[in-house]
Amino acid sequence: MGQALAVRDLDLDLDAFEGPFDLLLTLILKEELGLPEVDVAEIVIAFVERLERREGAFTPAQLEVCGEFLVLVAALLELKARELFHEEGELDVEELDPDEAALELAERLAEYRRVKAGALWLEERLTAESDRFFRLGPAPAAPPPVRRLAPQDPARLAAALRVLAAEPPAPSLSHMPLRYPPVTQFLERFRAALRRRRRFVFDEEVDGLSRIEQAVAFLALLELRKAGEIKLGQPAPFEPISVWKAA
């Protein structure tokens, strides 16, 4: 009896996976490994190599192992084909009859075979060209294009420069001065009013002033109230404000 064959213990060394076939199947079924990443052909090659290394006669048990392997690989291929076709949305495998599917598969195999031959040629070419050394580097930026100027008249250029070099006019500050009297003016005015009278009505005192002057006057009123110099009274909102001296 030769070396025992066991599909599930088959050691694999793929791009996407390294370990026993059994673990690979588990990972795929748990969706922890994407089937499109797995090169099924390499699995087949690993199994065939294992067969090649086998010594002695082929026993019915080993034939059974081969059958099991074929079933597993066929299932893997079907799953993978579904995934690949499904992703592209190009073709539904279930819609194909067996002959069409076989034809499709044969065409794809032929295409892959051609590509594989191309890859082999590239590999050989790379080896043959391994003694070619050349400079490699990022392409430097090309110099900026030269802008050609029309003939210039120096006098006109000087005149143009003179315009640019002339002192600019002083900026106008006319909008800066205050357009309303300072608060202090109203402070004094209200203090003077309270020296003459015991109380006065604010609205009457500012009657005839502009809106902004009335606002400044009101600020002065608040200032006096804050300082404790006056008391204020108003019977109701928007009614006239009475002002009298604090005791």
């Binding site: 592209e88 590999e123 070619r132």
Partner: protein, 198 residues
């Protein structure tokens, strides 16, 4: 009397020296049109001068070789100096190119521009990492999309032609020639089957 070396000073020689200078500073192959523009000379005269340079810079005569590659002209080291060059510089583009990378590269070179789903369909394996690796090496690059909003397509770069020593994409051998006849494959398979059955 002091001996002096005189350079040949006919117009073609002068142009050849200018082209030599341009080629020595260029980090990539230069097309005849680029050389003509930079040297401010006609394309025909540039080709004549390049012929003169090709005679001077060839294997066995000089350590530098002028070659027609990637649709242009470039200077490279002579093959006899390869060992010394290998001790001086690394070649990350060529190093460790995997089988998956080569197959993907073959698909892009022969069928490009192609998208990742097309590459995956042909190889039967997802192509994401192979494509990313080839892009990183500078051997392939993006080239538009499959329709509006479709998958990105890829094509080979001039660096690919330079690395593989191709004057242009037309130098790739036909896949039909490489893959041979399908009948031959069938016969080989039958022969193997017959041996096994024997």
């Amino acid at each position: 009397m002091q001996r002096q070396l005189y350079l040949v000073d006919n117009p073609v020689d002068r142009l050849a020296r200018t082209l030599e200078a341009l080629l020595v500073i260029a980090p990539r192959p230069l097309a005849v049109e680029e050389l003509a523009q930079a040297a401010a000379a006609g394309a025909e005269r540039v080709e004549t001068a390049l012929g003169l340079l090709a005679g001077r810079y060839r294997e066995g005569r000089s350590g530098i070789v002028l070659e027609r590659v990637a649709g242009g002209y470039a200077l490279r080291a002579a093959r006899e100096a390869a060992e010394a060059c290998a001790r001086l510089v690394e070649r990350p583009v060529q190093r460790g190119l995997s089988q998956a990378g080569l197959e993907t590269l073959a698909i892009v070179a022969y069928l490009g521009p192609v998208s990742r789903p097309e590459i995956a369909r042909i190889r039967g394996v997802a192509a994401d990492s192979a494509v990313a690796g080839l892009c990183e090496r500078g051997l392939i690059q993006e080239s538009g999309r499959d329709g509006e909003g479709g998958a990105i397509r890829y094509r080979t770069t001039p660096l690919f032609e330079q690395v593989f020593g191709l004057a242009g994409p037309e130098e790739l051998p036909s896949l039909d020639d490489l893959a041979g006849d399908g009948e031959e494959l069938r016969e080989r398979l039958e022969a193997v089957a017959a041996r096994r059955g024997a």
